[in-house]
């Protein structure tokens, strides 16, 4: 075994350790530790990605060298390594971009706890991406829930407290259903490792035994994880939670946390049940339907919103819809589109939230559309980042969002008649709606009629904010320009999933 093969395990475990250490350090020291560690994990995940791409296969890492069915395992393939690299990179940039907000919004003696939660969140995201064991997935889903709720409420105001409560309640309902699904599945198969369950499920499916429980289990997983990843109509908690938190929290929650659950769902669908069973059970048609509705209703919600951050949050609802439409098409192309969308949204939405945080700085801390009029002129770097992000969300070629729309359209063209027409119509309408709220927002932030109070105000750039904006813009354009490599890696990763 080579050294690089240990990296995924080290990423998970030392992220937990880093979280514990941050809890006893002072704010500044915790910041340095957390940022250093995130830089390291990004580099390590990149090394793993290169390793898996070179060896062109996946490997199973056994914890404590115990064999299945006793040992716990993590599975590392191209797709997992790609997601891990993207997630830890985006986490690092989101923290950098909102750093001064974190120190301004948290109570001074609690700032270190923010980094504790970030480290725990990163650890749980790594675990959700890599794990091969369903119960481990459940435990880390709960860690993810607690950490992300804490990230919302560390900016202490009445609004964030209520938003956190609603978020926590919805999350708990979701994880309750998810746990019930795992328990029933364990009851009928007696296994917790994904490959072992997959074998037994295939055997049960071919004999037709336990047909109803299997349907119920797929339903429980789908609804449970859909609630947690804010699929329409379970999205009611999202705009409040993402709209009221501090800039970095919004960026991390929108860009990464929602995707963690979706990755678990994809793994369960295609590694535990397999395409054949999922298609026979027809549950994912509901996911497709709700995905389409999310694309439309999320965009309509964003269109009606007069508050910039809440508008971005509603846009996340629509973007999550794209992922579910990709999954719901239940074809390989659809799944590629879903995974590409996970990555594209992860590099785009955090940038928009970071830019929104920058606009609030030059607009007296307000985030309503009327207050931030002209903010792009006072903060040109944030303005450029916002413009790039918005164009990417609309789906202009050469930006990340276009790649998704292209892949999703191709997937839709390859599917059955009704699904094709519905998906294409939804993409068209949603793109139009996206343009209808993002283009006015761009005009608004570059408008000359800004409120006179802030007119003379020009931002003094902080190195971390500037670095984050520039890196996000480059990442986005790079994603669009070199999309064939990203799509190729995703395709290869899914092939290794057995798709």
């Amino acid at each position: 075994m080579e050294l690089v093969q240990n990296f995924p395990f080290l990423c998970i475990v030392f992220s937990l350790t880093c979280g514990v250490l941050c809890a006893v350090l002072k704010g500044r020291a915790a910041k340095i530790l957390c940022l250093t560690w995130l830089t390291l994990t990004t580099a390590m995940s990149l090394a793993v990605l290169i390793f898996t791409l070179k060896s062109d296969s996946f490997y199973i890492y056994r914890m404590g060298k115990w064999n299945a069915p006793w040992g716990n395992e993590i599975r590392v393939g191209v797709l997992e390594a790609l997601m891990a690299t993207a997630f830890s990179g985006v986490m690092l940039l989101s923290l950098l971009g909102g750093m001064h907000h974190i120190f301004a919004d948290c109570e001074p003696e609690k700032t270190n706890l923010y980094f504790t939660m970030c480290a725990l969140l990163m650890s749980s995201l790594f675990a959700l991406i890599y794990t091969n064991d369903l119960f481990t997935a459940y435990v880390f889903v709960e860690i993810n829930t607690i950490a992300s709720c804490a990230l919302v409420m560390l900016k202490s105001s009445a609004k964030t407290l209520v938003a956190t409560t609603r978020y926590l309640i919805m999350s708990l309902l979701g994880s309750g259903l998810f746990l019930l699904g795992i328990v029933i599945l364990y009851g009928i198969t007696g296994e917790l490792l994904m490959e072992s369950i997959a074998e037994k499920v295939r055997a049960l499916f071919s004999t037709g035994e336990y047909s109803l429980p299997l349907t119920v289990i797929i339903g429980l997983f789908s609804v449970g994880l859909a609630v947690k990843s804010a699929l329409f109509p379970f999205h009611s908690w999202l705009p409040d939670a993402h709209g009221s938190a501090t800039a970095s929290s919004s960026a991390i929650l929108s860009g990464l946390v929602l995707k963690g659950y979706i990755i678990v769902l994809i793994k369960i669908f295609y590694r535990v049940f397999g395409l054949e069973v999922i298609m026979a059970k027809e549950i994912s048609q509901f996911l497709f339907l709700f995905g389409v509705l999310a694309m439309i209703c999320g965009s309509v919600g964003a269109l009606r919103e007069r508050d910039l951050k809440r508008m971005l949050a509603y846009s996340s609802v629509a973007q999550v819809g794209y992922i579910y439409v990709g999954i719901g098409l239940h074809s390989r192309l659809g799944l590629i589109a879903a995974c590409v969308q996970i990555l594209a949204h992860a590099v785009t939405k955090p940038m928009l939230f970071i830019a929104a945080g920058g606009f609030m700085d030059v607009s007296g801390g307000h985030k309503s559309m009327s207050a931030i009029t002209g903010a792009g002129r006072r903060d040109p770097l944030g303005g450029i980042a916002f413009t790039v992000g918005a164009l990417s969300m609309i789906g202009i070629p050469f930006f990340a969002g276009f790649v998704t729309k292209l892949e999703l359209t191709q997937a839709a063209l390859g599917s059955g008649n009704i699904a094709m027409v519905t998906a294409l119509a939804a993409i068209a309408v949603s793109t139009l709606l996206n343009a209808l709220y993002y283009v006015p927002a761009i005009f608004n932030i570059f408008s000359k009629n800004g409120q006179s109070d802030y007119k003379g105000l020009r931002v003094r750039y902080r190195a971390d904010y500037a670095l984050s904006c520039v890196a996000f813009v480059l990442l986005n354009i790079g994603f669009g320009a070199f999309s064939e490599y990203v799509v190729g890696a995703v395709r290869r990763g899914l092939e290794l999933f057995g798709m």
């Binding site: 829930t145 209520v162 309902l173």
Partner: protein, 127 residues
């Protein structure tokens, strides 16, 4: 249909667990009082542990601890379900603690436990 009913009665632990899960789930989802929501959440999780424990028990078998050199595996039950219950209890205790702490802060601020009323108060504050 009688078959179906008979199954429910034979597996009465599982049936009870599912009914409890339903009660907990609806309480967590629909009740306005935060403390009752937390109780509902604990109901829901306890129901799942009951289900697991019932599934993990086989009548007449012993806990998997070797006594008197009896190493035949068919004398013992599988220890994993019980292990899962313990792990699950740890998770639900920490989530309950987090939610109780959150409830304390909300009560300090608004002097009520009614989530609808709190939402209403926050809206008013914004205007």
């Amino acid at each position: 249909m009688p078959d179906f009913l008979m199954n429910l009665f034979t597996n009465y632990y599982e049936t009870a667990a599912m009914i409890l899960f339903g009660i907990g789930f609806t309480t967590l989802l629909t009740h306005r009082n935060l403390i009752k929501k937390i109780i509902g959440f604990n109901f829901m999780d306890a129901a799942i542990y009951l289900f697991l424990a019932a599934k993990g028990y086989i009548a007449g078998r012993l806990a998997p601890i070797i006594v008197d050199g009896n190493t035949d595996p068919s004398n013992y039950v599988n220890p994993i379900p019980t292990g899962l219950v313990l792990t699950g209890i740890v998770v639900s205790v920490s989530v309950t603690a987090f939610m109780l702490a959150l409830t304390c802060r909300l009560y300090d601020r608004f002097h009520t436990l009614d989530i609808d009323e709190i939402t209403h108060l926050v809206r008013k504050e914004r205007d």
